[in-house]
Symmetry: D2
Subunit: 310 residues, 4 copies
């Protein structure tokens, strides 16, 4: 049994990713830690609790963490995910409650319980994980690997011409992770943009037809679908689910490589830019695994399978 | 009774400052938290324990904290304070031991015990305090005031042309404090450089003649005295003790004012520069009290008095 | 008849580009201005003179310009183009001599002679053109369009992970051009890297077989061919000739678009990065035409045709 | 006879400085070059011509130069010097006309005429001089010394907390000068702020009583006097005249020293900061002479003397 911890700024695509992990029988999500990002902290905590109830498998503890980035004011993305982060679908209050204790301490304590075995998946800004690394130096040894949704990979940004949302919200936190020796697999925004991984209208129909959770997944991404529609795009992308998939199913990864990477946390216009030295133009040592592509068909089939009515 | 917490990278002048606070009967040092700065963390912890033993009054718990800055590698200053940070005087191991628990949590818990009453004095890089502020948002309300030794005040730097040691070690931590609403009094390096606050050769003689602790104070600053001598200066400065004095004895402050201040944590050559907009050239609101000068004679008299044999 | 001015840091691929322009009967190269870049200024001037002799058509005046960037020390690229910038082929001294006068003044005076008609092609760092724009504000009106070889287009850099050579040598000069209202078409390094534009071994054989100038073109790129070979690549790219081709033969351009663009001239690691906001994530107005691809077959056929023995 | 060239963004205090130089018999002002700064270029040119007429000695040619900084939009200071830069005193049009030719070329040509002898005094942003240095590398050898009004010396800024007006308008130009080997004496804004150099109300009365030009000097600084009055200050400062005085009368300098200096042209908040490493905290070589103080009494006496009715 693999041991997972999911750190999330739970909005629509985080919810899909969490459903996948909670329904995959070969792993156990030992804790869910929540960070501000797509929405303010309390909204994200509520969405995490709702999602665990929807998964209907088991109930890992949910810990609230930082309400904003390390050094900068919080930037949220309700314009993409809805005011509630879940497509404004008027979800009822969850019966589950968040656990006592801080997400940062929960990351440390969970890793201490599973030294060398804990796999961390981060689906939001890296603030919680960065603070945990700063608070407990041994965490670098305890965590087996971090799977990070963030950065633009080898492509452009989505918040600024050069920066992706999760990394642009808290670039200092990214720098802390990249400076650590924790093994890391980074799944950029480019991965979910690939044609075979992108959720096209026909995939939406397939999801809707497949199960109640399939319909929930489409419904909570409704604001995103509308947002894309206004840009002239049909369908939606699933950055967090592709990241969870890369963590859960290594066989789904069709291309990955080691590289020296860094993040710009000092310049004004470039803040949050994630740079992958894939051409080895610097002399720096490799410090991350870049996941460059997934088998999109396998990803979608697995998603449907995990969401199936039971 | 006032309640103090001292955060320190204990080296020679931190030791003098701690002796003052521990021997001042009107305050109680509730905890000492230690951060890497002048020396690596374990050396600073040892020096803090030795100093408490030397003070011979009471034994606040000592908590170890961060072993380096938030984002950058640690820069130490053994060339100024000696390999042991205490003038290489071959001090015996202390009998006291550090308390269990992390300095960051200790800051939070001590403030929670004395909400609105805890006064924090920082004598080293602000890493511990910054992490505590990030971990516990209520800390901004709980802390009554922070007295900070750091920055160059209205003068130049001492590590780079524009940056003072404590602020240059961890400028991001300074930014976190300055961005918080905690009331803060900042005592720059310029205050202890003023002629009447500086420890001249005649002051050294007076200290030596005054008491055993007076001789200890001179002895543990011996490396600094030699360092200055090579620069053509006689005597030494006491940045941390002047800061503690400003906290303990407001009547000693001869000039202070409110100002908008910020720290450069983004540029290369300017990293760590503390800027005081004393001319009000920006439209930003005041966010700190700048202590600009002390009554040096009163400071030295009080120092001698506090160190007196009992 | 179109009127061209070519600004060049003449090395191997600049030479090919100049041969193309000088042999194309529908344009007249009114002046060649030289800037330091691939090689020191005097080496580039020599190569420009040799190339004009090789072209064997007419002899536009050659003006020496800046010997280095506006604000930074010069970085050259002899490791790519050879010590002489021309594949170390031991070329004899040219009989032609450079004209008197400064390249910056020559740009201004040539534009004044052909107001609204002069088309400028820049094949090196933009230092000369930037200084001309600073010296003569009317130049913005006089120049019909600038065709720039520089930046990575929508791809990565070739000197740093984010910056291409010409733009990284003098990013301030790029900023001056981008801040001006001169119409500009920017041909990035990505254009010549496209498979159909790249000079593969079979293209090399075709060039060698085609004409004396074809053999000269291959010969002067010999150092580059060897450099690529050590990286595991066969053949070579022609950034400057694709840029000249885009200027000479608009029908060869298969994709181009307008975009807001900027260059990083302020950060340390990002210096020289050219950012194309092709997704319109900023609200800035378009300021450049980005040439994204050429018809590589048409390019190679035309190259062979222009170099043909007469 | 010493040979001077004055580069100026002629407003009220530039006018005073020019009157001094034009009336000092031991030097000859060979040319006046004008740059945008306090006011737009054409206003400054007009003021320079008027000032030469007022001086009533001889008429050096006046050349217009750059209408703005190298890389940034122009920031002017009419709020300090009046809409006309001369205290809004409704001065009649000058009969003198500007010479043909660009200020940058005039600097180069004048230096070529007096190689090793030309002394340049800059009273505004350094844009013209920087472009001249970039256009003609030999200028570094031809200029005997540059006397620069700019930077805050060892004190604070006057436009931002860290930057003085002339250097903040065009920090890149400052960088070009500091990177050159031209001998330079830099007179910061601190020099004219010293109590004995500052023009107090009694000095104003003395000026008014002394001569027609004395009254003109007070009158054209009227906007500045009002500006200061609103800040609670009486009187006015004379940054440009103190700089000219340091150039004309070395015996007036009471303190100067060599130092490594640099300017921040890359950061956002620190743009234009001039840093003097007077404590030798870096290992960089000295590159400027810092004029730290003048004999204010001697300065004022000489000013009165030079302005006297003839
Ligand atoms: Ca997320
Ligand atoms: Ca200290
Ligand atoms: Ca070139
Ligand atoms: Ca001026």
């Amino acid at each position: 049994m693999r041991h997972f911890l999911i750190d999330t700024d739970t909005a629509s695509d985080d919810a899909v990713a969490m459903l996948m992990a909670l329904r995959e029988p070969s792993v156990r999500v030992e804790a869910v830690t929540v960070v501000a990002g797509n929405c303010p902290l309390n909204v994200c905590v509520r969405n995490a609790l709702i999602t665990i109830e929807k998964a209907n498998t088991y109930t890992p503890p949910v810990y609230a963490g930082r309400h904003g980035p390390m050094l900068r004011p919080l930037v949220t993305a309700e314009f993409v995910h809805g005011q509630d982060g879940m497509g404004d679908m008027d979800l009822p209050e969850p019966a589950l409650k968040a656990a006592n204790g801080h997400a940062v301490n929960a990351i440390i304590e969970t890793a201490r319980r599973f030294p060398g075995e804990l796999e961390v998946v981060t689906l939001g800004p890296l603030t919680n994980l960065a603070l945990a690394l700063l608070m407990e130096p041994q965490l670098e040894d305890w965590i087996k690997r971090v799977y990070v949704m963030g950065g633009g990979g080898l492509g452009p940004g989505n918040m600024s011409p050069v920066a992706e949302f999760n990394f642009m919200v808290d670039a200092e936190a990214v720098h802390v992770l990249l400076s650590s020796k924790v093994p890391k697999s980074i799944v950029g925004w480019d991965v979910c943009q690939a044609d075979d991984a992108y959720i096209h209208p026909q995939d939406i129909e397939r999801l809707k037809a497949s199960s109640e959770l399939g319909r929930f997944v489409v419904r909570c991404n409704e604001t995103l679908i509308q947002f894309n529609h206004q840009l002239g795009l049909e369908g939606f992308d699933l950055p967090d689910p592709t990241t969870v998939a890369a963590a859960l199913y290594p066989e789904m990864i069709t291309r990955q490589f080691e590289s020296y990477t860094y993040v710009d946390h000092q310049s004004d216009k470039g803040y949050g830019q994630f740079v992958v030295d894939f051409q080895r133009l610097t002399t720096e040592k490799e410090n991350a695994t870049i996941v460059a592509s997934l088998d999109g068909q396998m990803f979608k089939d697995k998603l449907i399978e995990l969401l199936a009515d039971q």
